[in-house]
């Protein structure tokens, strides 16, 4: 693949890669750095990209692998947001605003194991088909569905546990 094709085909993928990196790393700046690294890697092997059938899935796969490596290498402890949100003393009398609901789900998402979190992100946020998700995560289509199911059930159960509402 030469420069022009690379720019036409690969550059437009950056929002999906950025969102995915952000969901895994939970840090906007780190996600930006990650995306830049991924593009440099793709650029350095652009000649062999033509033989790849689905470059989008391939790039998402690369992003996931790179982010997981970064997470493993992290020395600092990520703040436990859950306690923050639950303990913030939400006034149960007032109507819950959308922002409150979003914060609650964000806290729950942080509690989910990486694979479940990735499945939710790729399916519910990126809207990717299961076959492609299987490629990106390295799971079988059936295993991916089961993981997605577990994630969705976990969201309901944790919501019930922390917020007392089904």
């Amino acid at each position: 693949m030469h420069s022009e094709e690379f720019k036409k085909v690969l550059l437009p993928l950056w929002p999906s890669l950025y969102r995915f990196a952000q969901s895994l790393l939970n840090d906007k700046q780190e996600a930006e750095d990650c995306v830049q690294e991924i593009f440099l890697k793709l650029w350095s092997r652009k000649d062999s990209l033509d033989s790849i059938e689905n470059v989008k899935a391939f790039s998402m796969q690369m992003t996931r692998n790179l982010c997981l490596d970064k997470i493993k290498a992290r020395k600092r402890v990520v703040l436990d947001i859950t306690r923050q949100v639950i303990g913030s003393g939400v006034d149960l009398q007032r109507q819950l605003e959308d922002k409150d609901l979003v914060d609650r789900i964000e806290a729950i998402m942080q509690q989910l194991p990486e694979q479940q979190r990735s499945l939710i992100h790729l399916r519910n946020i990126e809207g990717i088909e299961m076959k492609e998700i299987a490629e990106i995560t390295g799971l079988s289509v059936e295993h991916a569905r089961v993981t997605l199911s577990r994630a969705r059930m976990a969201i309901r159960e944790l919501y019930q546990k922390y917020y007392g509402q089904r």
């Binding site: 550059l11 950056w14 969102r19 995306v35 000649d47 789900i105 969705r152 919501y159 917020y163």
Partner: protein, 321 residues
Amino acid sequence: MDKGKAAMLEMFDRYEKGSTSLDEDQVIFDHVTNEQPENVSESLRAQFIYFNNKKNEPLPKELESQLHAKLVNSSPRQVKVQLLLRIAAILFVCFGIGWFTIPYVYENELTVSTGPAEQTRVVLPDGTIVFLNSSSELIYTKTFSDHDRVVHLKGEAYFDVHHDTLKPFIIYTGKVTTEVLGTSFNLRYYENEKLSEINVRSGQVRFGTTKKVMLTTGQRATQGLHDNAIEVTKSYPNSDAWKTRILSFENATMKDVVRDMERYFSLHIEVSNAALLDCHFTGRFNDPRLEEFLNVITYSLNIHYAVDGNTCILSGQHCKP
């Protein structure tokens, strides 16, 4: 419980099993956001609002321009800023014009293009000679890498590859690659024809995408844009006529003559009587003009021709015995 409610509950259940389609998820989203909050599961409503929120989160716009900048600077050869601006200007202008024949530098890459009525010759850094036919484009780098020699081709070209066993010469025509050590062949890839075609004059060539075949002197192969099957046949004797200016037919069928004529004269040929395509013809032409060529063919076979703009119509009852 009414049918509508039962159907929704069934969908929620399948959602938790991970079996809903993306369209169904959209239905769930519309339902949980339009219904009264008291009538809907709070966790379900909360998560769909969260997902929608995440989808529409603002993106760091500077990242895109940063990526552009990083890619430009990643080539081993340092390009000065002024040169970069000049290149950006030329690119901007050229996309408007469509065709340009001046080789231009873009991050170590050189492109040579020909217009609809041009042909040209390029000598590559390793001594390989490439004859480029009209409406074609060859992209290569100023210096080849340490382990191979890569070029990209759109259109048609004849390659005389410099022999180098250590560095395979690789040509990309779309997704199809042609790999050579030292040989000569004609390679063709016009996007509207939806295939890559190679005719090997001499030497050995490896051709294909994920599946490849080894071809040798006198062989021809094609690979379609959308399928993996490679068809190998005998080489077309006139595949490089555009370069040699020689059209040679030895008991060739009119079907082949018409095909070679169409390519050489850039014409569309119509035959009034399909039986004419089975006629045989023998003859050799050296840099022929169209009328000269048509006169000989039609006289030999006792048929008639008529030229109308870009189309030539051949008509007749049968061939001369």
